[in-house]
Amino acid sequence: MVLLYIILIPMLGALLSWLLAARKAALGRWVALLSLLAGLVLVTGIWITHAGNEGSFNQWLYNWQQPWIPHFGISLHLAMDGLSLVMLALTFFLGALSVLVSWKEIKFRTGFFHFNLLFVIAGIAGVFLTMDLFLFYFFWEVMLIPMYFLIGIWGHERREYAAYKFFLFTQAGGLLMLLAILGLYFVHGANTGVYTFDYFALLNTPMERALAQWLMLGFLVAFVVKLPAVPFHTWLPDAHTEAPTAGSVVLAGLLLKTGAYGILRFVLPLFPEAAHDFAPWAMLLGVAGILYGGQLAYSQPDLKRLIAYTSVSHMGFVLLGAFAFNEVAYQGVVMQMITHGISTGALFMLAGVLYERIHTRELGRMGGLWPTLPAMGTVTMVFVMASLGLPGLGNFIAEFLILLGSWQANKVMTILATVGLVVATIYSLRIMQRVFFGHTERQYALPDLRPREWAMLLPLVAVILWLGIYPSPVLKTVTNDQLRMSNEANNQKPMRTDSSFVMRTSITTDSLIIPN
């Protein structure tokens, strides 16, 4: 039941803020902010209570089910485990911040803006919670429309083009996924006589290899488009660049993660064997993303576009790690989802804060801002370093674990990906150089960070540092999922690696039995 609240809170907040904003804009903002904070409190509360007793994350924390369309075996089935928990925490955290960041930026039709914003977040929360494939697709689509509005109404110059592109890409992927879902549905029905969209029922559906591969691809396409991986990434730079800051934050921080989440939650457990066969190609895609995205990021003249391409590069790591099929890589992927959400979200916020001051995204027209904005420069430095994977900041943990794990699976790919770290250094340092260093003719008289901006940036700095120095809480929380994943992988096929520890992760799947 609490799970339902997690989804409903933002929805109600959305409606409320829309209604109240008609009366007074600030009211709407506050409602939106508070409802998201409420969600955050709720989730963290769950986290803390369960973090207390050991091993509580080795099972499903909550599980709630109601029939919806029994005729098709569709039910409102929500369940939460460590992975969902962490992702939800991230969702509400970034959500609240994105309300803050648009506090001054969004000047017109604030009510409708916050309605959309919160609705997206509700959709995302739904995606992270649902255990019914139909429902999953439902939420998957529900996210899109409000996101479309966020980009299309409050975006920058070419907003409508970007919005179309975003919408069509994700829709195309989604429909293919729908085909795959239905295919799975019927295969399972034909085998067992039970026609259901329930995730747990569909796990370990026996099917012949070729079919499994097709279905797996169907799912994968949707997620890879959302992730995004080369060559399906081209919607992302436009969408990120044209979206308002909050939109970019939500896109980069959360929406992309739904793709990664989908891979971890659905592709790998549902089609372990097929995924294994496809792994080399998936990793290749990942590496291609890392290098190609990195180079493009380097060449971009537009700050937000640059950051957008860095997401392409970073999400490549996710793909690389997810298909390495071992615990280390898996936890690395989860870390990467979180840390990338935070670091890139922060970079977009900074870009927005900068835009409010100098009204340009052109790197060519920036430079020499350090003396005027030293505090902002320092904060930016932190996140730039995070994005190039400096030890001590969260992203390093993520990328190191991913590479460490993927090394067991595929040496060549890992080496190429490691080269990606150099590329990351190149483009990241370019940000600092072009924006803050160098000299400038213009005499800026710009205010440095204001209290509100501190309020939204300091938490991010704190979190990224915390994740870099003491990531154990997160790693502990997501530990069980990849047990399930990797041992399903192992059940299907022994690991192709001589490493000593991957075997240790194959533990019995008691995590599958759901406590009622």
Partner: protein, 479 residues
């Protein structure tokens, strides 16, 4: 002709009676409001009379008609949409034509024709229904004599329809001439006996397919659609888009089933090709169409394509899918026209995309309604259209028609573009002060109806179970 028969034909009789009544009224005392109400009542009665019939089914009135659950269901759908159309019509005509009364007469007749089609299982009834439908449509389409485009559309429709029915008739004649049967089951059995399809029969079916395909407006017989939609009065366009197509589709299905069309692969192939062609052509034509009426015409072509996919899936779920899709599609597209109606002024129809620029900021509720309609057409969740499309895809997967499905997916992505284009236009924030917009007559009745439709669509989208349940029963009975 027993009492049961009469009861079974309740809706039809209702409508026909109303038609006669209207005729008399027109002769005695023409009064728009009065006739409006009469028609309304007639439709309402017909709709109610659908419910009790369900007990005594399936009921055959040999040789011409059969009233089974499928027929009844579709009659319900037709009458219901007729009702909505009537609701929307009043103000539209009140503001325009000086002689509005015959409109209702024709509308009733056309509906009657559609109802006959739905229950017909015999060439004769098929032909009768078809002609009742089309002849009254000539009148309806050309109804607004003041407008040149209107009767141009009427004439085009007339000539083409006549042509198509000539094809149909000749096809019938061929079939009849060879098999000696005019009722579908008879033909079916006869063909089963002789095993193969002799040439004349093939040719006959081919010709009939042309006739029916024209009425459905599927490629390559689609060309009339945009002109007719553009020329016709908006309610009539809605009628053409929904009722006439629905009726004909039902006949097609019935025919196909009774003659065991599934056994003759070539028919399947022809239909498959037309389906794919319809999807692509429809969507492509609609892609950057500036006139929303035409856009809707093209989109309806594409939607027929989707329906055919479900129909061709051959799976049991296929028919369910069609039934549900019709239920979802009728209100959706009527609603879309309804928005056009309420947005139109007394002198001009709001039909270009430009008329809707920034609508959301001027008339948020209408815009939201239109958005829901368009999203439902595009098949986005929370709307009935989504469940409908989902149902169709399901049927396709069930029938393993992967290629058709792929086509469908591609097309729904193309389709998205132009629906979203209009939505985007409505939400566009660029300042709209300089241009003068059509002063919309937002009639109360129209708005209420739209509200109902929106509720209905969202309801179907969020909780489709009840409707599915009904369809389920229907399917269990039809076998």
């Amino acid at each position: 002709m027993t009492f049961d028969d009469l009861l079974a034909l309740g809706p039809l009789i209702n409508i026909c009676g109303a038609a006669v009544l209207c005729m008399l009224l027109v002769a005695i005392w023409r009064n728009h409001r009065l006739i409006y109400f009469v028609t309304l009542v007639a439709f309402a009665l017909a709709l109610m009379s659908v419910v009790p019939i369900a007990q005594l089914l399936p009921h055959t009135v040999p040789p011409l008609v059969v009233v089974d659950m499928f027929a009844l269901f579709n009659s319900g759908a037709i009458v219901g949409s007729g009702l909505i159309i009537v609701l929307l019509s009043y103000n539209y005509f009140e503001e325009r034509e000086e002689r509005k009364e015959e409109y209702y007469l024709l509308l009733l007749l056309a509906t009657a024709g559609a109802l006959v089609l739905v229950i017909s299982r015999h060439f004769m009834s098929l032909f009768l229904g078809l002609e009742m439908l089309s002849i009254s449509l000539y009148g309806l389409i050309a109804y607004l004599r003041a407008r040149p485009r209107s009767d141009e559309a009427g004439l085009k429709y007339l000539i083409l329809a006549a042509l198509s029915s000539a094809f149909l008739l000749f096809g019938m004649a061929l079939v009849y001439g060879f098999t000696g049967h005019m009722d579908f089951p008879g033909i079916g059995n006869y063909l089963k006996q002789i095993g193969t399809l002799p040439l004349p029969v093939i040719a006959g079916f081919g010709l009939m397919l042309i006739g029916i395909g024209f009425k459905l407006g599927i490629v390559p017989f689609h060309m009339w659609a945009p002109d007719i939609y553009e020329g016709a009065p908006l309610p009539v366009a809605a009628f053409v888009a929904t009722i006439s197509k629905g009726g004909v589709l039902v006949v097609l299905i019935r025919l196909y089933q009774d003659i065991h069309g599934r056994d003759y692969t070539m028919l399947w192939w022809i239909l498959a090709i037309t389906a794919i062609a319809s999807m692509f052509v429809g969507n492509w034509l609609a892609l950057t169409q500036q006139n929303i009426k035409r856009m809707l015409a093209y989109s309806s072509i594409a939607h027929l394509g989707y329906l055919l996919v479900a129909f061709l899936s051959g799976a049991q779920t296929g028919l369910e899918a069609i039934a549900f899709y019709l239920v979802a599609y009728f209100p959706t597209s009527i609603g879309a026209f309804g928005v056009l109606i309420v947005m139109s002024s007394s002198v001009q129809d709001a039909e270009t995309v430009e008329d809707y620029r920034g609508l959301f900021w001027r008339y948020p509720w209408v815009a939201l309604a239109f958005t829901v309609m368009l999203l439902s057409l595009a098949g986005i969740p929370l709307t009935a259209g989504f469940i409908g499309k989902f149902y169709i895809v399901m049927a396709g997967v069930d029938g393993q028609r992967w290629f058709l499905l792929l086509m469908l997916v591609i097309n729904s992505v193309i389709g998205l573009y132009y629906y979203i284009r209009i939505v985007a236009m409505m939400f566009r924030t660029t300042d709209t002060s300089e241009r003068v917009f059509i002063r919309p007559s937002l009639p109360l009745a129209g708005n209420v109806t739209l509200g109902l439709l929106v509720v209905m669509l969202v309801g179907l989208g969020v909780y489709p179970t009840a409707m599915m349940h009904i369809i389920q029963q229907m399917m269990t009975l039809i076998k």
